[in-house]
Symmetry: C2
Subunit: 338 residues, 2 copies
Amino acid sequence: MILKAIVRDYTSSGVPVGSKALAAQLPMHVSSATVRNEMAALEELGLIAKTHSSSGRIPSVKGYRYYVDHLVQPDPIKANDIDIIKSSLEGQFLKIDEIIETSAKILSNLTSYTAFSLKPEHKQSRLSGFRLVPLGKRQVMAVLVTDNGDVESQTFNITTKITGDQLEAVVRLINDQLIGKPLDEVLSALKSDIPMQVAHYLQQPEGFLKVFGDVLTKAAQERFYVGGRLNLLNFSDNNDVDELKSLYTLMDHNDDMADVLGQPTDHIQVKIGSEITNDILKDYSLITATYEAGDHGKGVIALLGPTRMPYSRMIGLVGAFRQELAQRLIDYYRYFDQ
Amino acid sequence: MILKAIVRDYTSSGVPVGSKALAAQLPMHVSSATVRNEMAALEELGLIAKTHSSSGRIPSVKGYRYYVDHLVQPDPIKANDIDIIKSSLEGQFLKIDEIIETSAKILSNLTSYTAFSLKPEHKQSRLSGFRLVPLGKRQVMAVLVTDNGDVESQTFNITTKITGDQLEAVVRLINDQLIGKPLDEVLSALKSDIPMQVAHYLQQPEGFLKVFGDVLTKAAQERFYVGGRLNLLNFSDNNDVDELKSLYTLMDHNDDMADVLGQPTDHIQVKIGSEITNDILKDYSLITATYEAGDHGKGVIALLGPTRMPYSRMIGLVGAFRQELAQRLIDYYRYFDQ
DNA sequence: CTTAGCACTTGAGTAACTTGAGTGCTAAAA
DNA sequence: TTTTAGCACTCAAGTTACTCAAGTGCTAAG
């Protein structure tokens, strides 16, 4: 009970909690001396710590851990919040990416923290189509489609030396040989035998190969969205500019961030401080949750905040959000899959 | 001479400059008392100011203005810097946007400030083509091309109720009526008579109209790139989180930023502190320069830094950069226009 | 096992003092 | 008339000393 009260108090006030205030707040009547004795025991166990020899106590990482694992009760979500979620997710989205991107935004707005969202994926993407769309005299758009429905495109200019026939031959070559293959195989093919074959049709295949490589890399990347980047400024000790820079840089590296978020699990996962694999985040906490989009696989939403975040509220919020999002996606797929 | 020395000193050290240090540094031999007399005169003119009654002097906005208008000599660019610029611009860019985007990055890296770049534009964009490219069973990509060569695209899902014929009819409708019109006219047509006409072909035209509106808006927007956003953390008094937030928000509003940058002029323009129209930037300085890309119009590059930036170095740098960029673009167009 | 009492610790805030860089002004020197 | 030495004065910034309140641990009594 005392640990729970300390966590609750400290996460809401940010000030170390002392025995007297704590005693006044506990449901039964005890004196501050009693509380002090118990606190000494909790400290012995490594669950709480002092900031200096005569200060009140704050939870340690281990203390938060115990709290999250055994004591926390997710707050029921506020009616107001659920309204915001529902109405933000409601609009007419024509792309699933918009829903996912919006999710990160809502979550960061509701919490004033930074939120991440990953779209559902049920298997490794495979190439399902590649085309070159002529746009004007010398402009061409390369479009790549995966079997997950992801689309990547890029425009580029061509020199006059390439004819439409040549382009079509190249497209056919790619599609004949590579459709249905996982993107990483396509990528390695691009580095081995494809260049030689393309060279049959194009005198200077470098430009085309670069574009193809670019869209391929973009499509193969973990794609996720970040909402409320700027909220980092609220809860980070904003004195350390270098730390902020590394944080922002980290968020721009999709693959590193995907590592941080880790494998999707079924329950809501809380990683606290040094438990996070990436050192840059050692003073933060991360709440990740999986959402299921029917048989379209699992996606991930996550919340990054200070170690001393109000876990009960946040866990309740993420839990509710995940359900709303899952429901919304099932509706979406029902509409477009029918 | 004294004003010049004050500006030079203060911009490099950040500390108000006193009479003694100044006297030691001037080319002729004068005592500190003489310098003090002159400084009192400069203060009378409003060119310099004290931070407190017994402090050294710092330039006022008016002082910087005079310095920039009459005294500054652009530093010759360092051989090393010019190498960096040349090599960064060299690579094989297949899209002009990449060159422009890279420009902002180089400029911010070289200066540790925040840089902006606007692509060259010689007239208002007009619609030169619109298409719908079917990608899979229910996925369609909308592509819009302007006569400036800008391309905007967006994928969306359709319900089964729309046939290929219908889509083609809609595309023909758009192209027949709107090609060659300036984008703002297209946009207003989209809000007036287009919906009714599209309704002839589609039962539920809302989805399509939204997508068309979206790509149109994106294409009509001033497009510019920002490099070194994070550098703001270096030179802003990073204590004020709210100020930083407004700055970042401003940079995400293309139209507001376009206002700030102002109309392209022929020379390098320096706006200091309160001279900048936008209040959020009243403690910063902005160096803007136009570059010419042959007969493809003029573009703008800009540099945002603290009021106390080393103007001579920055002006020299921006000047050199603008020339390199212009040259690079002329080469680019020569290659693809031929 | 709980609690009152008490000596002790510490960060945070405040006031007093010192230091040094700088100023303006005056009167003498150039 | 301009320059300079000299000097009293100002102020920010740093240091030291002191107070205060919140908190602790420990002991002995309930």
